[in-house]
Structures are given as C-alpha cells and as structure tokens.
Symmetry: C2
Subunit: 477 residues, 2 copies
C-alpha cells in the first residue's frame, strides 16, 4: 500500500471518517414502469465482474509486521456494498439530505472493500437518488466524481451500461471544462499529485515528523516551508484567518446540504463585473457565511479566509509533479466577510484570487510542491501542520470548484439531473464546500459536522439570497 | 468487564457478528396523522436521559493493558443510534424482511455504544416497524426481548411512555406465561445464568482451554463434561446429529424471515394428540425443514437434532446457579425429519423432549451447569467445544421458544401486533429459529446466513403447510 493511502487510513477515527461521497439525482426514462428503481438496483447488484479497486480491503496483522497491505476480499458480498433504500414521507429533498448525511456519518469497516452505493427511492417528484461512498485511500474526491461520471453517456438511448464498480467500466474520459479557474487538465492532476508525494525517495520521508505527516510521505523541508508559509512568514501565502465556529474539533456526525443554481446567472454577474464564474461562486459562499455567522452572533471582525484549489500552469505543474503530470496548487482567498456590500465582497475576492495566483507564480519549486500537497490532500496535510495548536488558523475552510460535463448525460436512459460532491470535514475544519458544474447548473455540496455547524441547510437559503444580491449589484437581475 | 461479555466481543468477526435483534410491528392509533411515524421517531430521538447500558462502549488500549473495559461514550450522539428509515415500493413484508436482514448483517462498531433502533415506515398496510439491535455483550436474546417489552403497557390510552433505552424505562416486569415448556421463571434466568459463569472463581477459569472458552469463563471440568456429553459418551445427551447444509462455516450476510400463527391452532393439535404447544412448534419446524432440505436434495437419512433450551426445576436450578436464581438448561431433541408422516414426527418429537427432560433430572450438578451453559450462551460455548472439528455435529440447530405477554400491549397508543426475535447464526450453525408468543399468536423468527441457507423465506410456506398437515393428522382441521 502506498504511504498516502496508508495515511488516509491511519488518520481516520470515529470523529473523522475519511471517505468521500457523491449524490446523484436521476430522472427515470419516459417508459419507466413502477418497478423501475428496483430493476435499476438489481441490475447494479447483479454485476458479474467487479473492478479490482472495489474488491480489495486493508489488512494488518502480525504476519504483515503491522504494516497495512491491500488484500482481496475472498468472501466479497455485493449485497453488503450495493443497497436499495427508500426515503420516509413526505419524500422531499430534505429527507434525502438527512439520509445522505446519516450514511456519510458511518465509517467504512476495514474488514470489507471500502465502498457503498445506495440506490434511493421515495422522492415525491419521482426522481431516483444514488449516493456513493468511497474511501479516500482508494480515490480522492475529484477522481471519485470522475469515476461516477465515467459510466455515463450523452446518448439517451444507450442501454446495458455498467455500474461504476464494474470491471472495465471506468475508461479514461476527458471531462469538459466549464469554469475558468480550474482547467480540465487540473482535474487529471489529482491522482497524479497523490502519486507524486508517494514517489519521493523513501529516505526523505523519514524525518523528525509527526507520525501522520510521515505516513503521508511528506518530506521535512516541505513541511517546514508549509509551516512558515501558513504562519505568514513568506509572501506566497500572506494571510492569517480569524477563529470561527468552523475551526474547532469535530464529532463523527455529518449533515449534508445541496442545491443547484444556473451557471448562466453567475456568468452574467461575472461578465458585468469583470470577474470569473469561480469568483462569483466564492462571493456567494462569502455572503452566505456572513449572514449565517451573523445570525449565530459569531461573525468575526476580520475576513474569513478560504483555501481554494487551483490548476497550476505547465511550468508550475512540472515543478510540482516528479511524474511529469499536471498538478493542483492552492490559493488562500480573502472572502471579505467583513464587508457589508455584496459588490465590495465580489471585488475583493476577485483581487485576492488574482494575487494568490500571482503568488503561486513567484513561488520556489518546494513551495509549489507544498501548495500542491495542501490542494491535493488537505485532510492529511493540515493535521500534519499542527494547525489546531496555532493561535490563528491559516484559513477557515476549503471551497473547491470542479468542472463536470456540459451537456446532459444518461445512465441506461435515466437522465442525470443533479450531481453533488459529499466531502470530508476534519478536525479544525468543520465545513467543506465543493461545487461542480453540470449541464448548465452549478451544484453546491455542503458537508459539515452536525454538532459544530448547526442548521447547515440555512446556508442554502443564504446562498440563494446572495446570488440575487450579486445580480442586483451587477445590474443583471 | 465480566468475562462473558468480553467473550462475546472477542468471538466476534466479520462472519459472525454477535448482536441479537428484535423486530416489532405496530398498528398506529386511530387518531394518527400523516406525520405519525416521524413524530414517533422524533420522540424517541429526543429522549433526554439515556440508561447507562446504552451509553457505554468497549475500549481496549495500552493503558488498559490490552484488557477490554467499558467506557462511557463522551460524545454520545443519539442520531447515530436512533434512525428513521423507509421501505422501497411496494412496501410488502418481503421488503421489510430484506431490510431487517441487511441491518442485522452489519457489525456494531466498538467505538460507540453497541445498539441501534430503526423506526421503519413504508409498509403498504400502514403498520410501523421497529428493528432494534443490541450486542450480546450487553444482553442475551431473551433479556433483549424483555427489555423491548418492558416499556409497553396493556393500557391503550397511556401516553408519554419512554423508549426502551431511556433511563428508568426498564423496570422489572413479570412476563406472562404462555407455553408449558418454558415457565415464566425460566425467562428470568437468562441474565442470572450469564452471571453464574462469571461468578465462578477466577482460578478455575484459567485452565488449559482454548482462548474463547477461557474468555467465556468456562472451567475445564465443565468443558470436558460437555465434550463427553456431546460425543455421546454419557446418557444425558445421547444423540449425534447428521451433517447438514446448516452445519458449515458461515459468511457475514444475513437473511431474516418471520411470520405468526395462532397459538390456538397449536393448542388444538396438542390437546388432540397429548402433546404440548412446544412439541407442535418443534414438529412444524421439523416438517418445514424436511421439505426444505428435500427440495435442495440435501435431506439426510438420519433425523436432524435440535438443541432446545428448557427451564430447569427448582433443584436443578439451584445446582446450576451459584447465585441462587433459576436457570435454563438444554435438551437435545430428535426432530424425526427421517419420518414421512407428520403424526409420527410429532409423536417422536414429544417423546424425545420428555426423554431429554428426564435425562436432565438424572444429571450430576456439573452436567447441569454444562447444559445450562449451552442453553444460555450457545454462540460462545459451541465454538469452545470445537464442534467444527467433529465428524458429526452434536446437534443441527437451536430452536427456542420464549413466552411473551398474553394480552395486547401498546406503546403510546400504538398496538404491538407482531414481535419477532432476530438471532445469531454462528459458524457450524447457520440457521436459528426463535419463537415467541404474544397476544394469542406464535411469532417465528428465522435468522440465517444468506449464503449457507438459500431462500430462507421458503421455510415460512413450509411451516404453514406443516401446521395444516398436523391439524389434519390430529383431526382438528
């Protein structure tokens, strides 16, 4: 087992399960009968050949010298992994999000392959939901989304399409680009970056590091650079964030909220204000969090700071990846939650994003590798930096924006109508926002610790309010 | 932690989860609104004070010297334990049993208190189901059923009744007797018997035993007696069973089947044939298994043997329990599956049951303690006996019959209309049948390994056929 996978497994505990998830909503085809969902479930369950990734489970024993190894599950039982569920009445999106939050709260047992797929019926509007859960030791969040998307097709009439876990199902497909901030190449980078860290010479890995950083395969020099950077001692990452309710220890219970907004609305705001779609997404998050924290009487005087993963250019990427592939870096963005006016916030965010990207350009190779490491595996790297012991966190949350397909896609005639990433909150980082575009909509997935982030679903209302406020400010409403 | 509890925890693995369960069906009160199930769930979830049994979880670390101890869960999260679920369409009993089988297949994680309660809606007939799962380290199956029953009341109009896991909810209530074979006192004995083994002097416990038997607190002499008995060398347990498909290694996946029949029908057969209700229950199981095995072309020439827990009389009980309480012993019953005629089978079973009870009377005190141990904790004791290495298993399955309340009971106005035990299959014993009577019905709960016992639900049809055949043979149909 490579050290990155092992690190994800070893950094796991009851409060910090290390799996990523995805929620997909499908519209059944016009000719679907009453038994449609059951047939969909049964066709997945009856998959004959399972891909190797979905058959292996972690194993550690005296025989393996206490080292974690992958082992095939000799008693693989697909009924444990593929499940048919239903929602309680009245079958609103609310009941669905409640179920997804609950399913996302449960750790995957090491004694079996580290994944589950739930086919969920009972939405009052007739749509079918699919929630999939995969351990971060198998794939990162972006690869998981690509995996789920890889079995879809723009062809409405195709049938006999395999499940994502079927052998041969996941061939490499180029995802289509929808936002400026994350070029398609960046999406390819996630797995490569993970490999990069693992590829570093073993003797570099053995330093005077804490166990988790060492397990993650991070060299000492890299961690020192990161620590300096995050402590505001280099120009590249020159921010320090205020303490917020998000930056506490978390519990194991999760809540999940998700909603779509048309990309066209964000594009219009961007065009009129000279900002990017991604800037508008960040401004929506900023305004929503400002209102949310103000309601809880917990809004800090100083602006919240978000870490935002971005694609690196060819030269930077070459530096970051010893395998020669592309890579994802990260930028610290001032969210301007201390400003009352939506237009001011958007402007500040846009400038902060530009500054961050320029800072990335002026970084030394080691610093770029470090920023790639944060972008790629925050849940390993951040604990390694000892952020919880710092007086001020270097950033308050991670907001990612990952492009998906631009045109409607189908799975055996069922149209994918919603696609939301379910991510990993960690200690000190109780809220995660991951967005993904698909067929003209931007899907927001908010994953939070149920106890630390109360009434998470209110953020959806505030996101909606904020988009309207930005449209008004930009004169496009 | 007492050695019995520790043994249940340590004998657990992915193929052999060690929790007992119960499925209850409720008829909502006449004035129930559309939000009834949700309110029922929420009232349980909002329980303010949880009983200590439901707050502790097992813990083992370097600090505890590797010993298992109970520890309070300081981050107790009731939403992890109390869940609201729904059935897929068409919401038949079949979908319910499928869900219960699946829920019963999942191990309880040691990092949290070892229980779950699922409030399940979506049955087409409007009934509400409740599935509860408790680790055997907390309670045995009979105590679990008593616990669930202890919060019910014969008073239809009572409200504000606590959940079974609420502090103070479980006061001691005398269960009512419904069958001759298991006196009410015997039900009280289960917990006492468990205590009995744990009460034995520590130096007796440390013998040249296998780890699981030692962990279970079984003295060497006792195990030797048991081994002799099971190997047909004493008169007390003078049977040896044929090999069947039930007596194989099992997997972790479970299937559950359950159904009711009126006790009155069994009583009529018993009266007309001079047998007990329990004899008729055993004859139903016998006939059903004969048909089931014949269909699979797997019916042995020789009769199957069932272990049947029975109540001990005062003198025997005094011997078996050092705490002075009552105890449950066990009898090996020839099921007569080699006979073609239902009346012959019932007669043979009845005689075999009588012989077994007489054998119990002539046992030495050590033998009685041994038989109590089998009756009380077969899932610990049987592996300790090394049955899997024996050419012939001493018995093929366990059939228990536990009396429940005779009159209808209610929980906050909802009438309990069905009550089925969900039990523990173990390696070498892939099927378990536990019956419980309630308000004039005998509920059969069949729990099996999904792989080893195919099409478990067919046994329900065969049980029904067999009761009809017995009625015909007895001239009461």
């Amino acid at each position: 087992m490579d050290p990155t996978s092992a690190a994800f497994l070893l950094s796991e505990n009851r409060n910090q399960p290390m799996h990523v998830g995805g929620l997909q909503l499908f519209e059944p085809p016009a000719d679907a009968g009453p038994g449609y969902v059951r047939e969909m479930f049964e066709s997945m369950r009856d998959t004959e050949r399972i891909a190797p990734l979905f058959l292996k489970h972690p194993h550690r024993s005296v025989k393996t010298g206490g080292t974690l190894v992958w082992r095939d599950d000799e008693q693989f039982d697909i009924e444990h992994h593929v499940r048919h569920s239903a929602l309680p009445q009245p079958g609103r999106v609310r009941e669905l999000l409640e179920l997804v939050g609950r399913l996302h709260s449960t750790r995957l047992a090491w004694e079996r392959p580290l994944w589950e797929t739930h086919v969920i019926e009972g939405l009052a509007d007739g749509r079918v939901a699919m929630y999939t859960k995969l351990h971060h030791a198998l794939v990162d969040g972006i690869s998981a989304m690509r995996l789920m998307a890889s079995v879809l097709s723009p062809d409405e009439d195709r049938r006999n399409m395999p499940a994502p876990f079927a052998e041969g199902a996941s061939r490499r497909r180029k995802p289509e680009e929808t936002t400026e901030s994350l070029p398609a190449a960046a999406v390819d980078a996630a797995t490569t970056a993970a490999k990069t860290l693992a590829d570093l010479p073993a003797d570099v890995l053995r330093g005077a590091m804490s166990i988790s950083a060492e397990a993650a395969g991070m060299p000492v020099a890299l961690v020192k650079t990161l620590r300096k950077g995050l402590r505001n001692e280099t120009s590249a990452v020159s921010l320090a964030a205020p303490r917020t309710i998000f930056n506490q220890s978390i519990t194991g219970a999760r809540r999940f909220a998700a909603q779509d907004w048309p990309v066209e609305r964000m594009r219009a705001v961007g065009k009129s204000t000279g900002t990017t779609i991604n800037d508008v997404v960040l401004a929506m998050c900023s305004g929503a969090m400002r209102t949310y924290l103000a309601e809880l009487d917990a809004l800090p005087d100083r602006s919240l700071v978000s870490m935002v993963p971005v694609g690196l250019n060819a030269k930077q990427a070459g530096t970051a990846s010893s395998a020669g592939g592309n890579a994802i870096g990260s930028v610290m963005v001032r969210l301007a939650t201390d400003m009352a006016d939506p237009a001011d916030r958007l402007r500040t965010i846009s400038r902060s994003m530009k500054d961050g990207k320029e800072a990335l350009s002026s970084m030394t190779p080691t610093q770029i590798v470090a920023m790639s490491a944060i972008g790629m595996a925050p849940s390993i790297v951040i604990p390694a930096l000892g952020m919880q012991g710092m007086v001020r966190p270097p950033f308050n949350l991670i907001i990612s924006n990952v492009p998906g397909p631009r045109v409607p896609h189908y799975w055996n005639g069922a149209q994918l109508v919603g696609n939301y990433p379910v991510s990993i909150p960690i200690n000190g980082m109780a809220l995660n926002i991951t967005c993904t575009s698909y067929a003209g909509n931007m899907g927001f997935g908010l994953t939070g610790c149920r106890r630390t982030v109360p009434h998470l679903q209110r953020l959806l209302t505030f996101l909606d309010d904020e988009l309207a406020a930005l449209e008004k400010a930009a004169g496009v409403s």
